[in-house]
Point group: C2
């Protein structure tokens, strides 16, 4: 009995996500679903991105957390439109939660909407929400075996940001190993090596965003 | 319709976990459910623990991973009985998976069985498997806001190991903040500050294990 129920949930979610997608397209807003394990640097990446690109383009943020609004508070300080979703225990965001959240945003005024998913390297990759692309972060302190152990997220993502490269001298992690095994899973993956702390490598990520937003608007 | 189905799954799991628990008690084996986000150091902790305590006590390991047997290979090198569970997409271990796995172990000969759960700070905390205690690892590179954002695992665990303290000079993380907010969620939490890399602080963890195994056998 379990499997049909799960399939129903996934199918219902895909219908809602398709409808979200239609609304995003209509409003010419480019939408990213940002995923990673807890503490890999999603909110820090958003802070840097907003600092650099806000003004040049209109950015909106949806923050997904099981509990608390710590991340939304960090972002709204930057003066961008931010909505917090508390999933109340749920391990991922889905199409319906996003629909409830974006009704609080003026989509017409936005060029870029980034959804920060719940910190979880497993479940969020299974649920679409109407996004244009999935983007994932892996921090070097998590180790270089993660693509082999959590392949789905690497397969589903268009961009992999390898973060915290400033920690490379202090951790046992080979960037080449991460790249090799990620590209074996997903040969189309665009990879950036970055440090949100030192800002190293972020220029490539900003340029990718600019190109994508320009194409979609 | 969704909620009753989930409840059924949780209740069915609790029945199987209770039966596992009975079997573990009968065989006088002390069982831990080890949980953390991906890359926090579960397997490294097990390697150190086995190096130090194997011989003094008989240790068995069940490795839970979505895919691959990298971790089981690391542990079985150490000469301990190791079983790998591949969840094939599932984000946590449950009672039934453990039952299937421990049938491959000679429980009678074991003093301590450690189950390494799937790397995930959310879902594993919801599923019992018949363990005596839940133990969690948080690495300092994940940041000090994690107890507030993922409270369930901190509430359910008996022990919190704060790992990678060798990285403290290079990351923005306050150990005191982690301790304060964890203890607010769970005042009974036993906390050890450790580095699996330098072995700092591991003596307290070994002693906790010795005391627990002695009491249960």
């Amino acid at each position: 009995m379990k499997i049909p129920v799960v399939r129903d949930i996934l199918e219902a979610n895909e219908r809602i996500a398709a409808e979200n997608r239609r609304i995003f397209n209509e409003n010419r807003v480019f939408v990213l679903n940002l995923m990673s394990a807890p503490g890999a640097g999603k909110t820090s990446l958003l802070e840097r991105t907003v600092d650099t690109l806000n003004g040049e383009m209109q950015i909106g943020i949806i923050e997904g957390d099981i509990q608390s609004s710590i991340d939304a508070a960090r972002l709204s300080k930057k003066g961008v439109a931010t909505v917090q979703i508390n999933t109340d225990g749920a391990c991922h965001l889905d199409g319906n939660m996003i629909r409830g959240a974006f009704s609080h945003l003026d989509l017409k005024s936005l060029d870029l909407l980034i959804v920060e998913n719940v910190g979880n390297l497993v479940c969020p990759a299974e649920f679409v929400m109407g996004e244009d692309h999935k983007v994932m972060i892996l921090s070097v302190s998590e180790g270089d075996d993660k693509p082999l152990k959590y392949p789905l997220m690497f397969r589903e993502s268009s961009v992999l940001l390898i973060n915290k490269i400033d920690l490379l001298p202090y951790v046992d992690c080979s960037i080449n190993k991460i790249k090799e095994s990620s590209l074996k899973i997903n040969p189309d993956l665009t990879i950036f090596e970055i440090s949100c702390k030192t800002q190293e490598g972020l220029i490539g990520w900003y340029q990718w965003l600019r190109d994508m937003v320009r194409t979609s608007s």
